[in-house]
Each structure stands twice: as structure tokens, then as C-alpha cells.
């Protein structure tokens, strides 16, 4: 099992360590998931070690054309310094992974992929690149990634850099120094709060120095490390998809509510253009929707069935938990399109024989503060 350069920090902080995506990662620290969640949501600042994510470097005269082919969003819409959320589809339309694409310079991009899918993503990248004049480099092991999120994130990080962080728009980035270390400084995140993500070397001594500098800078704001548990509850309150839970190779971006990143008429079509156009024409049959459960204590979880009045399966919960901010159970799940309109009631079987009513709502479940 792999470790990030911050593994020893997590252990020293008393983290509970779990396996995630082939890495030993902190799921929570001693204060617990709800306390960590609230630090990020209620005006503080939290630090997430997400160095397990994969980074691929793409250069060459065909870089844009290549990325257009393998991803659903329109890479031509990017300019240097901009990042884009996208998905990488199979030719059938199923999702190999969701990813971020950064345009570093003309003919030079960085793709950021999930940890557990990184090996298959890399295989797909290298296979598809055969027809293009591009050079690929897998920087996943060489790259550390920290997400600093929450209302005090910019103030914290501003102490460590000359780059004017407040001037970087959401989903844009700058290349500069953080605590004297070269970094990509990105106004992105997975929490719905103001935040920064920084990519820099995973060389242990340097990575450790950056970590320490961030915690020193954030001391006056009560900066805290945040584990994967709160990362999950934070993203769920925003309705953000988690690969492997809400989207995978059996779901397509149109069903998953990712039509907004699926540009079927872009100049250079993607590998799944025909399949997805066809799907759009005949119409999707199911849709990933948000729901809330009013009944106290009834929490729907990944894999719970959505059933009709006869008890037959008509859909499935893909993510579910309590919303630490509202105290209500919330979730995402695939339901037949006829049941996908806001306010529709669905029945969820949370255990054999136990049925609860969920109401379809449009995420986010809590107001975001990303701008």
C-alpha cells in the first residue's frame, strides 16, 4: 500500500488511517468527522491531504486534440491559467473517471485523476495517445497535493506567497511559490467553500516544510487537518459526484447530471460522441438526483435500493449520509426520469423491511461559498 509524503504527520496527529485508492489515508482525526466538517463550513480553515490523486502531464502539438478526444468537456474553451472539470468516457459513454484538466501553456496541460482509477486512467491515456503527437508523463508519485479550504483559506495561504490569491478566479490557477516552493496554486476544491489547492513536489523534506508552513500560517485561524470522512460529507452537501459511488463505467455523464460538462457539439468530438448523442436523442431512462429524508435517524447509504410500491427495485442510492449542517439525511441516487422532478417522493429500503421516504431536491443541500 502507498503512502503520501504526509503519512507521518497524520499518524502524529492521531489520525485513524484507512485504505483508500491504494493508499493509507487519514479518514478522521481525533476531533471527529462532524467537528472537522464544521471547521471548514463555519468560517475556519482546513487542510486536506489529497496527494493520493494522480497527475498526468501532457505536452505536444496535438495535446489539445488528444484531450478533446478523450474527455467530454470542450478543452478548446480553456486558456492558459484556467482549469476545467471533465469526465473521461468509454466509447459506450460509461465514465472511466472524472478529472480536472489544467491548461498550463499552449500545447501543455495537466490532468488530475482519482487515486483508485489512476492505473487504468494512465493505461487509457497511453493507449489513446498512440494516434497523436503528444508526450505523456505520469507525475502522480512525484506530486504532493494539499487542499486548503474554508473562509480563512486565502488569508492563511496569502502569508506564504506573493501571488495575489484573491485575484485568482474560481477554476483558475497561478504558478508561483508557496513557502518558497514552486507550486501550481489553484482556486478549486471539493467542499463548496472558498479554497485553494496546491500542487508541488512530493520530495519528503520539502513537502514536510510546506505542510508545517501552512499550519503555522493558519494557527491564528484555528487551522486543522481534515480527513477523508469530512471530505465526503462536505462534497455530498454540495451534490458533487464521487467516482466509484455516483459515477462509474456503467453510468454515463447525461444520466449523472453532468450534461453541463458534456459538449456534444465541440469542434473535435470525443470518443463517446456518437453514443452520447444517441443517448440524448432517445432520452435518458434514469437520472442521478439529490434527495432528503425528513424522518429522524433514517439514513440512506450507498447501495440501498429505491423501490416502488410493490417493493421492486427501481433505482439505487449511490451516496448518502447525514448533512452535518442541516442534521437531515441527504443523498444522491439514480431514479427513473419520471420520478426525478423536485418534490417527488421516493421510497428507500434502508435495511430489509425498513422503508423510508425521500424527497427529490436539487443539490446543493447547503449554499456554496466558492466565489
Amino acid at each position: 500500500m502507498k503512502r503520501t509524503p504526509f503519512f507521518d504527520k497524520h499518524v502524529a496527529l492521531g489520525a485513524k488511517i484507512v485504505e483508500f485508492g491504494g493508499y493509507e489515508m487519514p479518514v478522521q482525526y481525533p476531533s471527529g468527522i462532524i467537528a472537522e466538517h464544521k471547521i471548514v463550513r463555519e468560517g475556519g480553515v482546513g487542510v486536506f491531504d489529497v496527494s493520493h490523486m494522480g497527475e498526468f502531464d501532457i505536452t505536444g502539438p496535438d495535446a489539445q486534440k488528444f484531450l478533446q478526444y478523450i474527455s467530454v468537456n470542450d478543452v478548446a474553451a480553456l486558456t492558459p491559467g484556467k482549469a476545467q472539470y471533465s469526465a473521461m468516457p468509454l466509447s459506450s459513454g460509461g465514465i472511466i473517471d472524472d478529472l480536472l484538466i489544467y491548461m498550463l501553456a499552449p500545447d501543455h496541460y495537466m490532468a488530475v485523476v482519482n487515486a483508485g482509477t489512476q492505473p487504468k486512467d494512465w493505461a487509457h491515456f497511453t493507449t489513446q495517445a498512440a494516434n497523436y503527437n503528444v508526450t505523456l508523463r505520469n507525475d502522480s508519485d512525484a506530486t504532493a497535493l494539499l487542499a486548503i479550504q474554508g473562509a480563512k483559506s486565502l488569508q492563511t495561504m496569502q502569508k506564504l506567497t506573493d501571488v495575489k490569491l484573491a485575484e485568482i478566479p474560481y477554476y483558475s490557477f497561478a504558478q508561483g511559490k508557496i513557502a518558497g516552493v514552486d507550486a501550481i496554486i489553484s482556486r478549486t476544491g471539493y467542499t463548496g467553500e472558498t479554497g485553494i489547492e496546491i500542487y508541488f513536489t512530493s520530495e519528503p523534506a520539502i513537502a514536510s516544510k510546506v505542510w508545517d508552513a501552512i499550519f503555522e500560517a493558519g494557527k491564528e485561524f484555528g487551522i486543522a487537518p481534515i480527513g477523508l470522512g469530512a471530505r465526503d460529507t462536505l462534497r455530498l452537501e454540495m451534490g458533487y459526484c464521487l467516482y466509484g459511488n455516483d459515477i462509474d463505467e456503467t453510468t454515463n455523464p447525461l444520466e449523472a447530471g453532468l450534461g453541463w460538462i458534456t459538449k456534444l457539439n465541440k469542434a473535435t468530438p470525443c470518443i463517446a460522441a456518437d453514443a452520447l448523442k444517441n443517448q440524448k436523442e432517445i432520452g435518458i431512462k434514469r437520472k442521478l438526483c439529490g434527495f432528503i429524508i425528513e424522518e429522524k435517524g433514517a439514513i440512506a447509504r450507498h447501495g440501498h435500493l429505491i423501490i416502488d410500491s410493490s417493493g421492486a427495485k427501481i433505482g439505487e442510492v449511490t451516496s448518502g449520509n447525514i448533512s452535518p449542517m442541516t442534521g437531515k439525511a441527504i443523498g444522491l441516487g439514480y431514479v427513473p426520469v419520471a420520478l426525478s422532478t423536485e418534490g417527488t417522493e421516493i421510497t428507500i429500503e434502508t435495511r430489509p423491511g425498513k422503508r423510508v421516504i425521500g424527497k427529490i431536491v436539487k443539490p446543493p443541500f447547503v449554499a456554496p461559498h466558492t466565489k
Binding site: 462532524i34 467537528a35 460529507t233 435517524g297 439514513i299
Partner: protein, 126 residues
């Protein structure tokens, strides 16, 4: 981690305290740490169970865990203080965070189906 001497323990990580014919049951410090933030207790009052059976569940942010009774009997009280403050299970698992009171139909089980502190600590590698 703390494991009071005056309680007995189960391999499912519950603790038991006997007062007359009543058994008071909760989860151990180890169990609350493993579960993480407790958000809901789902055990019905009046539940009748045999020793070793599930009487309900404790729901935490990350997971849901069944609660097993080591003694046969009837759940006569569920800790109502947990309705508005389920986190008490995490903060004070042996005190205000107790879960249920069970009217035992065979009080001898309280001894025969639980273990002492030393044995429980060995079980969890403490």
C-alpha cells in the same frame, strides 16, 4: 482508552452493568472510537431478544453498527438523552452515553455471556 473495572464486556464491544434484575448496556470506549461520531440510536423500547441477538443499531457518520445483547430479556428503557445529543455516546460511553436498560429473563447470563476487563483488553489488543 478507558475500561472501568466495575463493568463486564462482550466480544461485540458492548459493556454491561447489572443492577438487580436490570442490565444497563452501552458500547465501549474502543467501539465509540471505531464508529466515530454517533448520530442516531435505533433501538425500540419493548424489544424482546434472546442473548446474542441484535436489539437494534447505532448509526454513525461513517457506518451503522448492530447492537447485540448478551442477556435475554426486554428492553425497558432507551436512553432518551441521546435523542438530542447522540454525541454523548462518544463523549461519555460508560456514563451519560449508556444505550438501554434490559429487564433480564435469565440474570445468570450477565456473568456467563460477558468477560472481565483483562480479557476484553486482550481481545482488542490493548
Amino acid at each position: 482508552m478507558n475500561f472501568p473495572e466495575n463493568l463486564t464486556y462482550t466480544k461485540e464491544h458492548e459493556w454491561l452493568r447489572v443492577e438487580g434484575n436490570t442490565a444497563i448496556l452501552g458500547i465501549t470506549d474502543f467501539a465509540q472510537g471505531e464508529l466515530g461520531d454517533v448520530i442516531y440510536l435505533d433501538i425500540p423500547t419493548g424489544k424482546v431478544a434472546k442473548a446474542g441477538e441484535s436489539i437494534g443499531s447505532v448509526e454513525a457518520v461513517k457506518t451503522v453498527s448492530d447492537i447485540y445483547t448478551p442477556v435475554s430479556g426486554t428492553v425497558i428503557e432507551v436512553n432518551s438523552g441521546l435523542n438530542d445529543a447522540p454525541e454523548t455516546v462518544n463523549k461519555d460511553p460508560y456514563g451519560a452515553g449508556w444505550l438501554v436498560k434490559i429487564d433480564m429473563s435469565n440474570p445468570a447470563e450477565a456473568k456467563s455471556n460477558t468477560m472481565g476487563v483483562a480479557e476484553y483488553k486482550a481481545l482488542i489488543g490493548q
